[in-house]
């Protein structure tokens, strides 16, 4: 216990090196940015150097060891009993690893933007069919980026309005428009699904009919003549709908959940213990 506590204090004090060891609260934003990049380069550089120094036949073992060590805090944190606050001695550490992972993850965004730029620039330079769409991408990308930067660096009424107009007025509206198309797609998909082709399709149509009717007032009105209490109340459409959703449907969903979660657990175990083979893990290092 003492060793773990000491290790935790050590890690918190010295890793990340720049952001914890050299920066003080209130430091300017560029110092923080530089600190994060410095941490990334130093930790990444150390890991890369170790990997290069280790003979090729031991590299897989080293990566397996690092993968295992990376997973240990999560496993220990989950299995170790929690105190009354809901946390144990590793909870804070695990949260900080999560924050660090997010920082590392954000660096990869540059790769995605590079891919976008390359694709659209290629089409634009070669004037492929639809090149005006590629041009629209660049216009939209740089306009949104400039508006975002301007709004965060010089936050005033003009910049704020421009940003809100672009983001709220265009980006969000486009997202909502795309979302609303689901309504049309549901109709066409439901039409195909509910066509009576087999016994199963007929059963599904009947169940869907009852569930949909049970959700709307007209459904309740149709069977309002049936008493609200007693055995016959089960035949009221709203009760039938509730029963289908919460009994057979829920049982099927939970059955699937069991399978999915055990599958996920098995995959996590294989990845953690580096047992995974046969997909993309067999590459020589």
């Amino acid at each position: 216990m003492y060793i773990l506590a000491t290790l935790k204090t050590f890690l918190l004090k010295w890793f990340p090196i720049f952001t914890h060891g050299m920066l003080k609260p209130g430091a300017p934003w560029y110092a923080w940015l530089g600190g994060i990049i410095g941490d990334f380069l130093i930790i990444g550089g150390i890991l890369f150097l170790i990997l290069r120094m280790v003979p090729a036949r031991y590299r897989k073992s080293l990566i397996a060891l690092l993968t295992f060590l990376g997973g240990v805090p999560y496993a220990l944190e989950f299995f170790w009993p929690a105190s009354k606050g809901g946390d144990n001695f590793l909870s804070l550490f695990v949260r900080q690893i999560g924050d660090g992972t997010n920082v590392l993850y954000s660096f990869a965004l540059g790769l995605g933007i590079f891919s976008l730029m390359r694709f659209h620039a290629n089409n634009l330079i070669r004037k492929r069919p639809g090149w005006h769409n590629n041009l629209a991408f660049f216009v939209a990308f740089f306009t949104m980026m400039l508006a975002g930067f301007a709004n965060s660096v010089h936050h005033n009424a003009v910049n704020s309005n421009v940003f809100d107009m672009l983001f709220g007025g265009i980006v969000s509206a486009l997202g909502s428009t795309m979302f609303s198309t689901i309504g049309f797609f549901i109709v066409s998909a439901a039409y195909r699904a509910f066509r009576i082709r087999s016994g199963e399709a007929t059963l599904m149509l009947a169940a869907a009919f009852v569930v949909m009717l049970g959700q709307v007032p007209v459904g309740a009105w149709m069977t309002s003549g049936i008493p609200e209490n007693g055995v016959w109340a089960n035949l009221r459409l709203e009760n039938l709908s509730y029963w289908i959703l919460n009994q057979p449907n829920m049982a099927a969903q939970r059955g699937m959940y069991f399978g999915i979660e055990i599958g996920a657990l098995a995959m996590a175990l294989r990845t953690w213990l580096s047992l995974e083979r046969g997909s993309f893990f067999e590459k020589e290092l």
């Binding site: 009993p81 990869a108 795309m178 999915i260 996920a264």
Partner: protein, 263 residues
Amino acid sequence: MNHATLPVGMLILVICALILFKIFSARRGKSLFIRRIPGLSAIDEAIGRATEMGRPMMFSPGLLGLGLPTLQALSILKHITTIAAKYRTRIIVPTCDSVVFTIAEEISKEAYTNEGVPEQFNPDDIRFLSDDQFAYASGCVGILNREKVASSFLFGYFYAESLILAETGHQVGAMQVAGTPAITQIPFFITAADYTIIGDEFYAASAYLSREPTLLGSLVGQDYAKAVLVIIIIAGIICTTLAGFYPSWHWLTWMDWFKPVSQ
């Protein structure tokens, strides 16, 4: 944060032990049977269709970042890309996560290199579209329509965009194979896709496609784990019912041990 209670922790350890035991037995050479999964068998058919039609395929690894569902989707991508490289069929992989994009690009490049046709790999076919849900969906819809995709594979974790992708694929006449662990999206895929991989079949995909002993062993271990859970559930139903008749027999309510403890 979530923590295991003693019974839950023990149950998880038992499940892990079962899976590991079967993995190591399979590695020792024990032959294992795996039933036919039509959705996964249809993958080869979909690739063949695209090859015959001379049109590209599309593979979407879902909307999640680098999590377990995406890792599973990427292992399926590896299989599909290898066959696509063999038949010189183009496959377009739109991604919504930059890390997933990098891995997908590496997988595709490696598949083409392994098949001896590295020059066939087109970096523009592995695309990062957007990390916004509906921007990504509209990008995929654009690809499906513009490229006249012959086969569409939707593997990974999807949200509301699942129906948009699957219905558009249906409209352009693409043969579609879909699989997701997102329970709420499975009905949409069943409705719109030609083949749907349901529930834990999604995690069985890499074992089914590669027939690798470790993965097959893991799959059989999962089945044993499910059998344990079924036994616990049946015993729990019986005991909980009996507890209604014999309230003084407190041990009959042992299923309560598995309930989460409020902190």
